[in-house]
């Protein structure tokens, strides 16, 4: 996918247009206001802006939709982050008695970054993405969406393309917004299966009994595995890739396979391999903190010109994970709704 027709240098010219014509202020305000049920919910929300020349300003807050619009049109931020709803207006936090200014609520968020899959994809690396490895995002969305709805009972999920190399999920239910830091980290760990850094070769280890969550996730992975790993990523195509796969198979199984070609019961190495290649890799740190700032939907990514936009879940599924990127210059307006 080439981005040669987008030039970051035109951003300063295009941004004002974007903020005047395209940015959906009224829907954005309607979302973050949550029906005005809780007093000052929007007013106590922290936003942060990254301006020209990497100037970063935190603790921005606004009283009304109009104020938000005016300020954004004035500052033309390169990037917008959404933070927590605090106990006081963030832009007045310096006047508050030390210790009283607290982050109270925030959506539960998840960040899936394609770079975390570099060890298992062969088509791209780092910030590059293409239709072959995008399947990983499709798998991730299916698995996490199901778990968040069916296991945790959440209903209001917003899935967004992060603008460059991954997806974010915003869980907006009241229970999610009120969740403690410990609760967030517990949810994130429940959803984590791929563990280990550079020093770990085998990152997924399954033991009996296999939890229903893992079984449900495996169902999704199995649906896509052949197409993704064997065809698109060609993990058995070159010796080095094959070796990487074999490194995940236990020694005694390898020996057994070589001599007899059958496998003894109770081992889960095929499942482990599939999960290691395909299961979603979350950055737990993003989900843990109540005050963690995350790139806002509809924020433009300065390097790609793409904006973090909502993926209408139905649309994504029907297109089987194929995703077309919209360029700022073309002024496409992407229809969105909350799932």
């Amino acid at each position: 996918m080439s981005y040669s027709d987008y030039d970051p240098a035109c951003l300063p010219d295009l941004l004002p247009l974007y903020y005047r014509r395209l940015f959906p202020f009224s829907q954005y305000y309607r979302w973050l206001n949550y029906g005005g049920v809780q007093k000052n919910y929007f007013q106590n929300r922290e936003f942060s802006f990254t301006l020209k020349d990497d100037i970063y300003v935190r603790y921005q807050s606004f009283s009304t939709q109009n104020e938000l619009e005016k300020e954004m049109q004035k500052m033309n931020p390169y990037k917008i982050d959404i933070g927590a709803v605090y106990s006081h207006r963030p832009n007045q936090h310096n006047t508050v008695k030390s210790g009283s200014f607290q982050a109270l609520e925030k959506e539960l968020v998840f960040d899936i970054d394609m770079t975390d899959y570099d060890d298992v994809r062969t088509c791209c690396s780092a910030a590059d993405i293409c239709s072959k490895c995008w399947t990983l995002m499709t798998i991730a969305i299916h698995i996490l969406d199901r778990a968040l709805r069916e296991d945790f009972g959440f209903q209001h999920l917003l899935w967004v393309y992060s603008g460059r190399r991954g997806v974010h999920c915003w869980v907006c239910d009241e229970a999610a917004r009120k969740l403690s830091a410990a609760g967030r980290s517990a949810v994130a760990e429940y959803l984590s299966l791929v563990k280990g850094g550079e020093e770990t070769v085998k990152k997924v280890v399954l033991t009996d009994p296999i939890h229903p969550f893992i079984s449900a996730s495996l169902e999704v992975v199995e649906k896509y595995f052949l197409e993704y790993a064997v065809q698109e990523q060609d993990i058995l195509g070159r010796k080095e890739c094959v070796d990487k796969v074999l490194a995940l198979v236990p020694e005694d199984i390898l020996f057994f396979l070589k001599s007899q070609g059958t496998v003894k019961k109770g081992q889960h190495f095929e499942k482990e391999i599939m999960l290691q290649y395909c299961y979603p890799r979350l950055d737990v740190n993003v989900s843990k903190g109540v005050n963690h700032l995350l790139k806002s939907p509809f924020s433009v990514h300065p390097k790609t010109g793409d904006y973090a936009l909502n993926e209408q879940k139905g649309e994504l599924l029907r297109k089987s994970g194929k995703f077309s990127f919209f360029k700022l210059k073309h002024f496409f307006f992407f229809f969105f709704s909350f799932c």
Binding site: D151, Y190, G196, E198, P209
Partner: protein
């Protein structure tokens, strides 16, 4: 109300009801008067106990036989309640007194440990571990009594519901068998109340509810305990100014809250001791975790956040100044994909933050082994963490071979790792690489490793270990210097 013979003296205590059960939630504070001496003794002894809880927690598998043995021992030595049945046999120190001590000492330590986030976190962690140990030991009947007495009422699943979900329930936990599904109760608990079970995926979740088998109810209780204690500490912090105005208590409480840290290696006097040029030569004194990070940095000319924090703070602890640190990181990153400009914009801030020059100006202390082992596990692309804890045994073996550790020692080290004795494994590694029979210290901090190593390599210049008194304690008046020494001495060996 019935009074047993030995309780007669204290029958007038309106709170004696509280002491009927061996375990409590510490919901009500003690109301009696006690002497200052008792106040101090109770506090110090409970602190000793909590320190033991902390150490045993990293050195042994929790609730394994060694752990139980040592815990029981410590509880007995310090006269805290432990086993309900054997307690009755002890004639010289009746249960009542032990439970009263338990009650009072807990509340005293709340005063000392409510002040900062770090202190609170530490206190809560140890109290929870202690509570877990004592609750698990209660006979089932007493467990049930405890639950009812403390208002933990959850709905149970009907037989019909159990049948419908039986295969899911079976697959959700190792401890659930066909028999348990039929015979035992399952509690429907909101997932927020069962976080420990959710986190480790040991329970079946549906529509936001965790279906907890009877025998796992302890984790729910713990969660409740943790939440209540957390709230209570926040409340206590607010009433602290009143307590601090009492001059008899203020100094003692201060000592108590600093004593837990032991040595934190944020010593200012070390600054400038090691210069940049010396880093490569003193590298032999780096523990394995820091060698790993150093190597990754040199190879990739980059480290992710977790690695920068762990290694950066360690370097601060051994004496690298802020200017040198900036130079060091910049020179390394520039060789990679980061240009000088980007470094200054994106990474320099973080390093200055580490040295307390930005943001809330907190002077961060280098991570202890406990912190490295237990928090922020490494994921894809990371090189931080504890190699004995986080590396694959195969890779660890290779690494040890690379550092010329003998095969027999490697086997010993791997055995220790298997038994989850990570710090002991590291100590063994120290012994083998420094050619000493028995390391004379108990390893709990990477900077400690460095200092001990330098001692050995430098021919043992320091006759005794430095006692580094954290800055705040230096403000104490003279007459309490003795107490502070006693407290420091208590925690020297960790």
């Amino acid at each position: 109300m019935q009074f047993q013979r030995r309780h007669r003296k204290l029958g007038t205590n309106p709170q004696s009801e509280l002491y009927v059960q061996p375990l409590q939630f510490y919901g009500e504070p003690p109301l009696e008067n006690i002497s200052l001496a008792e106040f101090e003794t109770f506090a110090v002894e409970r602190l000793k106990l909590l320190k033991t809880v902390e150490n045993l927690g990293v050195s042994y598998v929790k609730h394994g036989s060694q752990y139980k043995l040592k815990m029981d021992n410590e509880l007995r030595l310090l006269h805290f309640p432990y086993r309900p049945d054997t307690e009755k046999l002890s004639l010289c120190y009746p249960d009542f007194w032990k439970r009263r001590k338990d009650h009072i000492s807990h509340f005293i330590l709340r005063l000392a440990y409510c002040q900062t986030e770090d202190l609170r976190r530490w206190f809560i962690q140890q109290e929870v571990d202690l509570f877990r140990y004592r609750f698990t030991d209660l006979p089932p009947q007493q467990k049930l009594e405890f639950l009812h007495k403390n208002n933990l009422k959850y709905n149970t699943l009907s037989d019909k519901e159990k049948n419908e979900l039986s295969d899911k329930l079976l697959m959700s936990s190792y401890s659930v068998s066909g028999v348990t599904v039929e015979k035992l109760e399952f509690y429907k608990v909101p997932f927020q109340d069962a976080l420990d079970l959710v986190r480790s995926r040991k329970v079946y979740l549906k529509a936001g509810f965790a279906f907890v088998p009877q025998q796992d109810i302890v984790t729910i209780v713990l969660n409740d305990f943790r939440t209540r204690l957390s709230k209570a500490l926040a409340l206590t912090a607010r009433s602290l100014p009143a307590v601090h105005s009492d001059e008899r208590l203020h100094p003692l409480l201060n000592h108590l809250s600093h004593a837990y840290l032991g040595q934190d290696y944020s010593i200012q006097k070390n600054v400038g001791k090691i210069s940049l040029e010396q880093i490569d030569s003193v590298r032999k004194s780096f523990p394995l975790c820091m060698r790993q990070l150093h190597q990754a940095l040199r190879e990739n000319h980059h480290l992710r956040h977790g690695g920068r924090m762990q290694y950066g703070l360690f370097l601060k602890g051994i004496g690298i100044s802020l200017e040198q640190a900036l130079q060091f990181w910049r020179s390394e990153f520039i060789r990679g994909k980061v240009d000088a400009d980007k470094f200054d914009k994106a990474y320099a801030y973080g390093i200055r933050h580490m040295y307390g020059k930005e943001g809330k100006r907190a002077d961060y202390t280098p991570y202890s082994c406990m912190k490295v082992i237990l928090s922020n596990p490494p994921s894809q692309g990371d090189h931080h963490g504890c190699p004995f804890r986080h590396s694959d045994p195969e890779l660890l073996k290779q690494k040890l071979q690379f550092y010329k550790v003998s095969p027999s020692s490697i086997t010993q080290i791997l055995e220790l790792v298997k038994g989850m004795h990570f710090q002991l494994a590291c100590q063994k590694y120290f012994e083998v690489t420094h050619n000493v029979e028995d390391s004379s210290f108990s390893l709990s901090h990477p900077n400690q490793y460095f200092i001990e190593s330098q001692k050995v390599l430098g021919g043992g210049k320091d006759p005794k270990r430095e006692v580094d008194v954290p800055q705040k304690v230096q403000e104490t008046p003279q007459h309490l210097a003795e107490t502070s020494e006693d407290l420091e001495a208590l925690f020297k060996d960790g």
